[in-house]
Symmetry: none
Subunit: 213 residues, 4 copies
DNA sequence: GATGAATGAGGATTCATTCAT
DNA sequence: TATGAATGAATCCTCATTCAT
């Protein structure tokens, strides 16, 4: 028993440490950005010595990468089912709710995600990570678009997906900047409005003219 | 004459140096972000010794600030007249052209601008600069919105301006990422489409249903 | 136990490091003066990396300040009892022995002290430190003088104390410059002779004409 | 004529420049010490470009050396005649006046002198200069002592001369620190008192007991 | 595993000195 | 000669990373 239990416990402890470190890293990255964050600061935030940090990560970049991967997985796990066949059949407004809401919720819970995503300062391999994530998300958006407007050329579809995503990221920043509560809710609604107005012409259905407010 | 020519020449040389250094800084900031950029790297990019850099700027921050100010001035000079009373009278699509095109052109010519603007990593006084600029631009957008939809509450107007600006920044990144040529032009058109669809309901006029392409 | 022993050991090591660094600083300050001493030189003298130095001191000034404080304390501890009421009752020659000898011994052991004291080059806060010490010592000298010649005006007393101290510092330099042994001893005697001849008229007692040698 | 006049004028101009630079150097050395003084600061104080400074001096050290030499010469010229046979015959109090007064006057006019003399921070060759000067002055003092007390051993004479000089330097600092006027005069008198009391036993004559004030 | 001291290369900045004008 | 811009080695100091305990 002890041959298995003990290691397992070790691993469990290790996992806790890693989670703790990643959480700390997330906090500090959020506050100061990747480049300006020192590994010592992360260790301090995690109430851990620098040596311990390096027992779990080979270097600073690895922390950001692992953090990104975990966030990505969590996002997939929690909200991956948004793009189900069933949902694809929904009218656009409903689809937007189904897809956008969990994304926003996730980002509100994990503001590092956005910080890492558009971090103009992240170097090399981290950026690649982001690109991978980016491509992945874009693919999904493209699928949705393809479903609503199958006649579009690949280029058009790509461009629309890119723009949709860009809008989403821009709106997300606004939402995160807004204080929680009515203001943030209004920002969320606004983002949906933008997306709806932008995308509804794709559906063929008329845009049962919503007044602006 | 030589009492005047020489200093003038000196000053000219100094101005050239400053321009050269700022250009170098712009390049390196673009590539690596403000924080990750070393003054030595800037000097190297400018083919100049570190000492020379410090003959013209007291520190790294000052470079970014001066760069920001120059860009801002240039932007004002070149495109400040976009928001004239005459233009405010234009129908939305034309207004978008008049306002958005020069902004895009400017940013294509000076990609640092965006890099500095949304630099999640810029500290202290630089961030203030940006905030000032940001506020300034938002004000103008609000004025336009107020002109088209005077009945909106301040909150609504603010939110719409914020969102418009966010969309613009998002689109801009897309545009800058696109290779010059047809692709970039398409991206530009797409951004205008988004803005038009988002904002036209404000004007009261029906959105003479543009098909998506 | 290990919860206490380890930190204690750590602290002990830290204290040793600090002592080592201060000793190194003392050496280099002595040799080149405060301003001309680089932190890297101190680290090198201490056979330590620059980073280590900065783990214990925030900057060069702090090293000099801490060094000064420690010396001061040590001086107080070791020789503070020189100015006791009992001693004040002694005849001048004995008083000089009691007061001057330990001072000289201390300065022979810690030549930095003098280096820092009269450092014409020390800036800012260090100079303040020195002034405080200076004032303190002067006060004591004044007290002694007041004891021997209570009728003196404050101005006279101050001036005599200043001069006594100046003579002492000048003699000290001579003493430190002399090679240990007979020569140094002779220098010490000489300093006492000066002080005695200078101050004995204050005591009223006749100066039972000592021949010069 | 022009073959001679022009060069002479040039030389005259050069001399003026040098004097101007040395004066500037003196000022800045006084204020900040040798090490902390930058050549640029000297040039600025002299209202001259750094290049010009280096047209007249090969490096920073040379400035200090030249300054020292000039001061030394000036001192010799102005006050060298203090040690004349005639003066050596004077009773000690008068001799002190004759010798000490011009020295003090000189140092009051040229406070750099002292600054350079005891500069704990001056490097290499400058210190040698000082040593030369030092030796020179000490010799003179020894001569005087030998005149008053011919029976003293060389060692005794040397020591007394050293001490006399040390006292003098210490007193000088006090004098320079005192504000011009009554206070400075009192300090001067005090210094003479010290020297008189210290040296009069050498003369054999009784010290017609001066009260301390 | 955990600790935190130690390392040393690197970054910002200064300054003695040189050089084109 | 005078200028002041240019240089680059040297400072002070930080931080990613390693290592003895």
């Amino acid at each position: 028993m002890s041959e298995e239990t003990k290691p397992r416990r070790r691993q469990a402890r290790g996992e806790r440490r890693i989670a703790q470190l990643l959480q700390a890293a997330a906090n500090v990255f959020c506050a100061y950005g990747y480049t300006a964050t020192s590994t010592n600061a992360i260790a301090r935030e995690a109430s851990v010595s620098p040596g311990t940090l390096y027992q779990y990560f080979p270097n600073k970049e690895a922390i950001a990468i692992e953090l990104g991967e975990r966030l990505l997985n969590e996002m997939r796990e929690a909200h991956g089912q948004a793009f189900t066949p069933a949902n694809l059949g929904l009218p656009l407004p409903e689809l937007l709710d189904v897809v956008v809401d969990p994304m926003i919720a996730f980002n509100c819970e994990h503001p590092v995600f956005l910080a890492l995503m558009h971090g103009s300062d992240v170097p090399g391999r981290i950026a690649e990570e982001h690109d991978a994530l980016h491509a992945n998300l874009l693919n999904r958006v493209q699928e949705v678009i393809a479903h609503y407007a199958p006649e579009l050329s690949v280029e058009d579809r790509t461009r629309i997906a890119d723009m949709t995503f860009a809008i989403f990221k821009g709106g997300l920043q606004l939402i995160l900047a807004a204080p929680e509560g009515a203001e943030r809710d209004a920002a969320i609604t606004e983002l949906k409005t933008v997306l709806l107005r932008y995308l509804s012409p794709l559906t063929g259905e008329p845009l049962t003219t919503l007044p602006n407010r």
